[in-house]
Structure formats: C-alpha cells, structure tokens
C-alpha cells in the first residue's frame, strides 16, 4: 500500500530506502528516519489504541515522549515490549507492532461497553462498592480489565550493560539550547557529555526548517555543530539516550538504546540491547525544552486530534500529512505556526478557532494574510466521529470564558490540532528538588530555586522561549559552568550563536476547561488525562467529595498516574482544580516529580548483575578438587563450601553418615579455608582483645590458642572463633565464615573511633591461607607422614600452634578441634592449598581418609554440643543463655558486658541452650520445630517454650540428637517436651547439650 499521506518532498527521511513493518497484522511501508507513529500516519492510520478505562478509540496525540495514547505492543515473545510509545519507536525493517488492551480487535472492541456504563463508574467508584459479600469476587474481573499491554511470558534473551561516567559539564537535551551549551563548554576543553533522547540532534529545530541561526537555515547550524562536537576529544555525544533521573549530588541516570532501532537480522551480537549510564557531573545544564499543553474541550480524545506542535513535526520532520482537512484550536500565537505549516504543506485548513478575543501577533497576521479563516473569541465545543474525527463543533465564547453561545456550528475535518501554551520540561529539575514558580506572563511553571550545586536550566525548560534568547542563555550558562570547572576560553571571546527568532506564542488566553454547550459531565467528556480516561467531571467530583489537595485529586482520580505520568495533563488538572477551588494555580501547587522521566527497562537497571554475576561466588583454593570429586555445595554468604561428597548410589544422608563416621573412626579432612583470619600486631594487642572478647587473651602464652566469644554492646553474641598468640605482640584471630568482614570492620571501628590510643594494627589474611582440617584418631599418624614436626602431646598439646613444613610447604599448624576428635588445622599459602590437600589425600589413603563437608562438620560439632553463631544464636542470645558463663570474665570490662546485667538478661525463664533426645531415637526433629509442654490437643495459641536450633541423625550415637533453646532449659533436665509439627507431635527429653565422648578424652587422641 502506498504511503498516501506522505508528502512528495521534504522531511528528514531516507526516501531511497523502504522499510516494511506490520501493525496489528497489516503490512505497511515507511522510511528510515520514521517513527512508528509517523509511518502509521503516512499510511493514513490514525486509530492505534484503546484507552485504559472506557476503551475509547485513540490516535496519535503527540510526536514525542509525552504521548498518552499511542501505546503499542512491540515484537513477539520473548522479545515483546508492552506499552511502547509509537511516537518514540524508531522504525526498522521487520518491525511488528500490535494494538493492545482491546478485544476482539482495535476497530471493534467489546470492552467499549464500559464507556456506555461510564456514568456508573466515575472516579473512585471501586471505593464505594464491591464490599459485599467480599472484594475477592470482584477483583479478578477488574484486574483482567486493567493493565494495558502484556508482559512477556518467556525469559528475556537480551543483554544489558551499565557503566559509570564522569564529566565536567553534562548537557541534557540536544535542541538549540543544548547544542549551544555543549559547543560553548566543549570548546573550553572541559569534559562534556551531551545527551539527546532522539536519534538526531536539533530538538525543536528538526520540526522548524525555516528557522535561521547564524543567518543560515538552522539545519545547517545543527549539522555543523554536530560535526564540531565530534572533533572535540573531550566531548561525548549520546543520542537515543534519555536522561531519566536526577539523583543526589549531581548523579544522573541515562538510558541509551543501543540496538533497539536495528532490524533483528542486523543487530550486532556483541552489543547490549540497552545501556544504563550513571553520570557524576561537575555541572549540569538542563536544556530539556518544553512540552505543548493541549486544550481541554469536550470529546477532545478522538483519533485525528493532536497537539499543534505535533502536526508541525509530522509535516516538517517526517513529511507526513496528519490529515486532509484541519481545524486549529488555540489560545496563543503558537497555534498559527501549525496553521501556516498545514496550509503550506497542502492540508485544507478549515479554520483557526482562537480562544483569544483578538489575534494580533506576527504569525496570526501572516495567517490572516494567507487567507486562513480565523474565528477569535470562539471555542471548540465538541467533536464527532467514532474511529476518526469527522466533525468539529465551534461556537462563540462569552467574555468570561465560562459559557458558549448557540448550539455549535459543525465543521467537517479529519484533523484537529490544539495548542494551550507550553510547559517547560522541568521534570529533572524537580527531581533534583528544585522548586518551581508560576510565571503569570507565560502561564507556566518555571524553575525557581535550585537545590543542587552547579546546576543551570536553560532555554524553554527555563521558560525562555525565543530562539535568540535561548542561544544566548545556554551559551552563557555553559561558559559559566566550564569556568567554574576550571576551564576558560583563554581570553578568546566566545560568542553565542545568533538568531532573530523570538518567542511566538504570547499572549494567550488561559482557559483550562473549555466550556461546551452542555453542562460538564452531560453528553461527551472533557478528558484531562487521556490514557487513564480522567475527565474534568471526575476532578470536580473528587473535590466535591472532599479530596481537595492536588495529591488527593490525583490519587482519587488517578490523573497523571498513567505511563506518561501526566506530561500533557498535569498542568491542566491543576488549572481546573484551581479554578474550581477559587485558588491560584501556584496555591494548588504541583504533585511530586519522580524519576524516571520516561520508563526504564528493568534489564537495564540490572545490567550485568544478573545470573551468576548477581552476587560473586567466592571459591577456595581446593574448589576444583571438590567439584571433581562430586561435592554438593552449600552457600555460606558468598562462599561456595563443599557440603557433602556423595559417592555413587548415596543420597545426602548416606554420604553424611559415612563422612561423620570416618572422622570418628579414622580420619576425615575438611576444607576450612573460608574461616576469617586477621593478623593483629602491636604492643596493645592483648589489651585490645580483652576488650573485644568476653574472656581474657592478654595472658595467653605465645604459641597457645584460645576460643573466644564476642558480643555487641547489647550483650548478644556476635561472633566466635579461636585466637592464637603468635608472638608477644602478635595474634592471629579466626572468625566465622559469614562474619569475617563484619568482625574486621568491628575491630577497626573500635580501634579508630573509640580507642585510637591503643597501638594495634590489623590485617585481614583470610585468603592468604588455605586451611584444611584433619580430624580423627588417625590424624596424628597421617600428619606425621608429611611433616618433621614433633606431634606428641607434650610438645604440641591441644590448643597450640606450630610452624613447620607439611608436604614440603611451609605451614602453620593449629591443634584445635571443632569435632571433639584429635584435630589439626593446617594452613599453607593459598597457592599451595590444592597441592597439600592432594598430598594429604594421597598419603591418607592408608587411613581411608575421607573428605567431609560442612554438613558432617555440623553433625560432629553438634555431637559435642558446640554452637554455630547464626544457628544456635539469632541476635537475641547471650553467652549466659548458651551456658557459656565459663567464658565470660568477671574481672574485666568488655564490649556488651554491662548489657548482661539488665533485668531481662537475668530472668530464669530466658531461653537456654539444651540438648534434646527424641523418645524414638530414630526420629530426627526438624530444625526450627517449636517445643510445647503438653501433647494434648488444644486450640491455638499454644504457648511455646523453645525451638530446635540444630538437629541431626548421629551415626556415632546411633540416634538422633538436637540442640534447642528452651525457656528455663537448664532447670528442665530430664523433662519431657513435645515438638509440635503440623501433622504430628514428637516427644523428646531435655538433656545436657553434649552427646558424645562426654569426658572429652578423644580430643587428646
């Protein structure tokens, strides 16, 4: 089908090439340079969408980011994108778009019945009904009726990128102001980033080809500016990039569309789909332009009704006639520019309807001279046409602008464009907490006070509308920013580009709600927020019901809450509210501007931080061995730890049982490299540790090790581990795997902030050392085969350390035990970890050495009643609760000590650590099981006396064992308790938390 509305010449499109695309299954042609919207209009397609609530037919309303209506579903699963603005989708070959939110088709949408019932469903209707019998019976249908496009059903195959960037001057907006600013700043040598959401620089100039800058067509100036910027090494120009957010301290978020505009077969595989930039800017120049404000009149939403500036854009930039016969409705001179554009491009111009009582500006004079029929003091009072505008009704207006006279004269037209003035695009400025002032002469909100350092707003965004003034303002702001960043023009005078154009749309007659022949709300609708179908009548209803704050009006009616976030509707809504409440517009105020300016893909926010990059996986030097030997892994913080090593035919329980037995029967080996390790040195190291730990370390002998417990100031257990005295002034502290980083920070914090007088230095050496624990009755024999050290208990007793070679590698060996068996913890530099591990395995064959994972380690330590911080404790457990009074020094102060004597800490019914044995020893209590005192079936709430913290099958005890925190547990020895599970109760007996080798003789081998 030919592009019958494409003008024969002009436009920034590549006519030499055609692009084939489909909309709702129909095939069309367009050209490179088109947007989906311009290409649809070129093919005479105006009906593109249905509205949110009433399913009214909607067309293309704007030519940019402010589009409320023309939302389409782009592409097919898995690369489908709902709610895409056709006005911003660049056309590519093979593009496929669908209408959304309609059934069975765009033309015949049965859901439009909601429109017929519209009187029953005014704003907020759902708050007043659907309460009986229950909301749940109504919610489903309402949910299905809501939403717009469809979310993808398949995982997104595309990749996204994220990066940081830094610059002296960030210029947002590549229109005349932004270009002038980027040039001025860039020429000084400052680092400049210029951001433009469009695929071309030029902004408003792209739609105004006759504009002159520096005495030549502005298009030439734009071209030259772009060429010059490309020669400046410190200037970066980002097109197709939207600055969507202005965060604290001049951090701005940009979204760059990298490959969205490529035909699928052309997309370079190595490029990400989109890239998020996080720019820290020394100075920010916001040159974000302005958005035209539509007039709010009756039935202002039909396909064929659009913004005046959009019509000019389609004519000039895309060489598309948006209609055959047009009416222009305006309250200012700007509408006449569209009228002149329409006429000069061959559109039959039926009339300009001007709310102003007289039109005396240069453009209106020109229009009059060209014979365009002009009706001043007139209003559009309504429209007709179902799927496309057919008629416009106009009538004269009274002096106050409150009433129209007569029944309305019909004018045949398929295009109606309106202009109600301009709103500076202050979104980013307001996100940065800048405040607005209402400018009466411009009838718009413009920036007032800035809340960020080093920020300027220039051009239309600042309420400066004349091109000449814009260029001067932008140039000056850029020079000031560059100068403040330490870059000057070096004495050479820098002059702003010149233009003779001045602002063209003043004066205006501001009527926020254009009256019609019928009272508001009766026959026809005055749409304020087109996407959400919020009408002027809805706003008045909200206020009538007491929702008078503009925030209440917004939330009650949902005006401005659609995907366009009210870019063309918010000021009109405020104006109507102000008029109704008898307030001024600034008294009503604006609702909060929030990021993003336009919606940002989740994938771009996530960037590369997905899948296995979401969180780093930290691995030990022996990781490859564990993998090769079939280990299952457990996540402990970011670490991957070997959990158990199933052999052929073994399930987890069997593997763990085998590993647990081996460690008691002969020897097992555990990779303990993940434990935190901190080297501590200084004359005050002992004193320091005394303050950190509940017990004393300053008296520890060199070469000896001691278990310690540390608390937070609230008295709760925070971490534990063994600390060894390496020398008079040197200690090596070990921490839990998960707590390593926190403990290091904790120690540094106290040293630096509270005890700077203590002479102590700390260095983390967690990963310097690969750590392997060999444990079991044959541990000594095994180790003896690989070291020359004297391993006899006399020279190497329990809780001591020795340095020597193991398998030819210099090692630190600690004789400490977390299993209750004779154990050695061998530390070698990480690069040799795997080699020494393999040597131990090799030599250990004769002892049937068995690698065991964290699960077996847990069973072994539970058999001995050793706690795990984070499992037996949860931030509400003190050392006294754990029965560890023996480790709490009475002689000295330490962190958290004072908290232990608070009244609640001393209560007898605090939860205390005990052991549990099930009545049927084969039954293993589930961890987390809650304990009750009675197994009689009673109704909840049933008082709980404690819970199971750890529970395992113990092959060495031949029965299940559990640790639990039980209220007053130490006084309950031998008492019967019940684990109350959803489907049964398990009875068990309270015991000491010690199940195996109660005398501890195995420790000494």
């Amino acid at each position: 089908m030919p592009q019958s509305f494409r003008l024969p010449e002009g436009g920034l499109i590549d006519r030499a090439r055609s692009l084939r695309f489909t909309f709702d299954g129909r095939s069309f042609d367009g050209h490179p340079g088109d947007t989906l919207a311009s290409a649809l209009l070129a093919n005479g397609v105006h009906l593109v969408a249905r509205s949110f609530k009433y399913h009214r037919p909607r067309g293309i309303f704007s030519a940019g980011a402010e589009e409320p209506n023309a939302l389409v579903q782009l592409g097919e699963d898995p690369r489908t994108d709902p709610n895409q603005r056709a006005t911003q989708v660049e056309l590519f070959d093979g593009l496929s778009a669908k209408a959304q939110h309609c059934w069975p088709s765009l033309e015949v949408d049965f859901n439009q019945v909601t429109s017929l019932a519209s009187r029953l469903i005014p704003s907020g209707f759902y708050y007043k009904t659907f309460m009986w019998p229950s909301w749940k019976y109504f919610e489903g249908p309402i949910r299905r009726a809501a939403g717009l496009g469809k979310a993808p059903r398949l995982p997104d195959p595309d990749r996204y990128d994220k990066c940081f960037a830094h610059c002296d001057v960030l210029v947002v907006g590549g229109g005349p102001a932004g270009l002038a600013a980027a040039l001025a700043a860039g020429r000084t040598g400052a680092r400049v980033i210029l951001v433009e959401q469009d695929n071309r620089l030029g902004g408003s100039l792209l739609s105004a080809p006759e504009t002159q800058i520096e005495g030549a067509p502005s298009a030439d100036w734009v071209r030259e500016a772009e060429a010059e910027l490309a020669t400046l090494p410190e200037v970066k120009v980002l097109k197709r990039t939207t600055c969507f957010a202005y965060y604290d301290h001049n951090l701005l978020g940009l979204l760059e569309k990298v490959t969205d505009h490529y035909a699928p077969y052309d997309r370079p595989a190595e490029l990400p789909r989109q890239r998020m930039w996080r720019v820290r800017a020394g100075h920010v120049i916001l040159a974000t332009g302005a958005i035209e404000r539509p007039l709010v009149f009756r039935d202002n939403d039909r396909p064929g009704i659009m913004l005046a500036s959009a019509a000019s854009s389609y004519l000039n930039r895309w060489a598309v006639k948006p209609g055959s016969r047009a009416v222009v409705f305006t309250n200012n001179e700007g509408g006449y520019r569209a009228a002149l554009d329409l006429k000069s491009r061959g559109v039959d111009l039926a009339a300009v309807i001007d709310l102003q009582l007289a039109a005396e500006g240069p453009l209106s004079r020109r229009a009059r001279d060209e014979g365009i029929p002009i009706k001043t003091g007139y209003a559009v009072t309504g429209t007709s046409g179902h799927l496309r505008l057919k008629k416009v009704f106009v009538a004269p207006l009274d002096g106050a602008g409150k009433r129209v006279f007569g029944g309305g004269e019909p004018i045949e037209a398929d295009l109606l464009v309106s202009s109600g003035g301009w709103n500076p695009t202050v979104h980013l400025f307001c996100q940065s907490k800048g405040t607005l002032e209402w400018d009466d002469s411009l009838a718009c909100f413009r920036p007032d006070a800035s809340m960020q350092r080093n920020q300027a707003v220039v051009g239309a965004a600042n309420g400066t509308f004349g091109l000449s003034s814009v260029l001067v303002e932008a140039h000056a702001a850029a020079l000031a920013a560059a100068d403040a960043a330490g870059f000057s023009t070096g004495g050479e005078a820098s002059t702003a580009p010149t233009s003779v154009e001045e602002r063209d749309f003043l004066p205006m007659r501001e009527i926020y709600l254009v009256p019609s022949i019928k009272p508001l709300g009766q026959g026809g609708k005055h749409f304020v927020d087109q996407q959400h179908d919020v009408t002027a009548a809805d706003l008045l209803l909200a206020m009538r019901e007491g929702y008078r704050s503009i925030e209440h009006v917004k939330r009650y009616t949902t005006t401005g809450m659609a995907t366009d976030q009210g870019k063309t509707s918010n000021v009109a809504a405020i104006g109507i509210v102000a008029e109704h409440l008898g307030k001024t517009v600034p008294e009503v105020g604006v609702t909060t501007f929030r990021p993003p300016y336009t919606a940002v893909t989740f994938g771009a926010f996530a960037g590369r931080d997905v899948d296995d990059f979401l969180d780093p996986e930290r691995t030990t030097p022996m990781h490859a061995w564990h993998r090769a030997h079939g280990a299952a892994f457990e996540d402990v913080g970011q670490w991957k730890r070997a959990w158990y090593y199933p052999q052929a035919g073994e399930d987890m329980a069997a593997a763990v049982n085998r590993e647990v037995k081996a460690a008691r029967d002969s020897v097992g080996i555990l990779d303990a490299s993940t434990l935190g390790k901190i080297e501590i040195r200084g004359p005050d190291a002992g004193v320091f540790l005394d303050r950190i730990y509940t017990n004393v370390f300053s008296t520890l002998k060199v070469g000896r090790a001691r278990y310690g417990l540390m608390l937070k100031e609230d008295g709760m257990v925070f971490d534990d581990g063994v600390t060894t005295r390496l020398a008079e002034d040197r200690y090596l502290m070990t921490t839990t795997t998960g707590g390593a980083a926190n403990v290091m920070s904790w120690l540094e914090e106290w040293l630096q902030t509270e005890w700077p007088d203590l002479k102590v230095y700390l260095t983390s050496v967690t990963e310097q050392w690969a750590t392997m624990t060999i444990s079991g009755p044959n541990a000594r024999a095994l180790l003896a085969e690989l070291t020359e050290l004297d391993l006899s208990t006399d020279s190497f007793p329990h809780m001591s350390m020795a340095e020597g070679e193991v398998a030819g590698v210099k090692a630190r060996i600690f004789r400490i035990s977390f299993t209750g068996e004779l154990s050695y913890e061998i530390n070698v530099p990480s690069r040799y970890g795997l080699a020494v591990w393999q040597a131990l395995i090799r030599v250990g064959q004769k002892y049937a050495i068995t690698p065991y994972g964290t699960e077996a380690m847990h069973v072994l330590r539970a058999e001995k009643g050793f706690i795990i911080v984070g499992q037996e404790t949860d931030g509400s457990v003190t050392p006294l609760d754990l029965g560890m009074n023996w480790i709490v020094s009475k002689k000295k102060d330490f962190l958290g000590r004072r908290s232990l004597s608070r009244p609640d800490m001393l209560k007898a019914d605090r939860k205390q650590l005990v052991g549990l044995l099930t009545e049927d020893g084969r039954e293993v209590l589930p961890e987390g099981a809650q304990l009750v005192e009675s197994n009689h079936d009673i109704r909840p709430p049933i008082p709980m006396v404690g819970h199971v913290t750890s529970s395992y099958w113990s092959p060495n005890c031949g029965q299940s064992i559990a640790l639990a925190l039980v209220k007053g547990g130490r006084d309950r020895m031998g008492e019967r308790l019940y684990a109350a599970l959803p489907d049964r109760t398990i009875s068990c007996t309270v015991t000491e938390p010690l199940f195996f080798d109660k005398t501890g003789e195995r420790l000494h081998g």
Binding site: F164, D609, R681, V765, E767, Q768, G808, R831
Partner: protein, 205 residues
C-alpha cells in the same frame, strides 16, 4: 624451596590459553592477563614516625609515598602503593615473598608497625588496551580520566561487587587490578563479559 609446579593460580580451572593480542584489541579492544604469584606485602606503620619511614626506605631502596593513591617504584619490578594514611603495599615481581618479608620485618623491628605477607590473599590481573577505561567504567565508580588518574597512581574501590585495588601501569593504558583471591574467577569472567563489545584478547601471563 617448594616446586613451582605445586602452586596454582585461582584461574587454573579456566585453562586460559593466550589468544595473543588480536588486531582488534590493538585498535579498539582490550587485553586481559592474569598475574599470579606476585609478592604483595601489607605494611602498616606511622607515616609521621621518621624512624619508621627511614627504615622502610632503606630496606626497600624506594621512597615511601605518603599521600593515599600514590605509587613509588617500578610497576614491573618493586613498588610501594600508599593505600591509607598508615597502610601500604609493597609489591614485587618476585614470586617468593619471604626474603622481602624478612627484611621488612627486621627493618621495622620493635617499632609500632606490621608486616604481613598477603601475596596469596590477593590476585592480580591486568587489563590494557584503548578501551580499557571503558571496560573499567562498567565495573568501577572511579573517574579514571587521564586528568584525574594515571601511571603511578592507585586506588581502592570496587570491581562490580568485588573489592579491588587498582593501579595504572602505563599510558597504553594498562591497569593492574588486585582482587581477593576468592573473587578471581568472578572478576575474570566479569571483565571478559564487559569487554565483549570491544573484543577481548588474552595475553600470556
């Protein structure tokens, strides 16, 4: 002396094979290389103590940089990185840290100072090429523009979600990135992925 073949880089599981510097990397790409087994000694001490400074300088034959972010020495040989007001790294091309640890330990003697061998706590990889800064910008919030960073400079920051010590080696630009050993695999794969759009070649270590 331990046999070299016993030691292992944390990237050995990737069986990295040098791809050589491709034409593309030469022009607009990046090159990655692992640099295991360098000596990295963490040194803590009081910069305001002239005795300490003097002792270190004598032991190393290098000036002790006093401003955080400064580096003295030869990036391919021995150098000192100032990481904090009382914290330095002494790094050296030698793969056996022991002699240096011994001489530094002797140098500081009873002074309030600390010398710890952290060669295996850290893992270095090098990223170079015309787009090296662009790749780093994806992972790191530092401003590495030549006006604010350069050779003989170092900084501690983040490489995506891994803590990193970064130093610039030359104007290629080439950077050395130190991450904790357990993050080696993460860092390598992250950088390889981030560099994909520019082309990544792997250099022999």
């Amino acid at each position: 002396m331990v046999e070299d073949f016993l030691r292992q880089s944390p990237l050995s599981h990737l069986a990295l094979a040098a791809s050589g510097r491709s034409q593309r990397a030469e022009e607009d790409g990046v090159a990655l290389a692992e640099r295991p087994y360098r000596t990295v000694i963490t040194l803590r001490g009081q910069a305001e103590d002239a005795v300490f400074v003097e002792a270190i300088q004598r032991a190393l034959g290098l000036g002790l940089p006093r401003k955080v972010g400064q580096v003295s020495g030869d990036p391919r040989g021995r150098e000192i990185l100032c990481l904090g007001p009382d914290e330095w790294w002494v790094t050296d091309a030698a793969d056996d840290a022991e002699p240096l640890v011994t001489s530094l330990t002797e140098a500081v003697g009873d002074l309030f100072a600390q010398v710890v061998d952290t060669s295996d706590n850290w893992f270095a990889l090098e990223l170079s090429g015309p787009r090296a800064r662009d790749v780093l910008a994806k992972a790191c919030p530092l401003d590495l523009h030549p006006r604010t960073f350069g050779p003989a400079r170092c900084a501690q920051s983040l490489l995506a979600k891994a803590p990193m010590t970064l130093q610039q080696l030359d104007d290629t630009p080439a950077f050395r990135l130190h991450v904790r050993r357990s993050f080696a695999d993460y860092a390598w794969r992250w950088l390889s992925d981030a560099g994909r759009e520019y082309g990544v070649s792997i250099l022999q270590s």
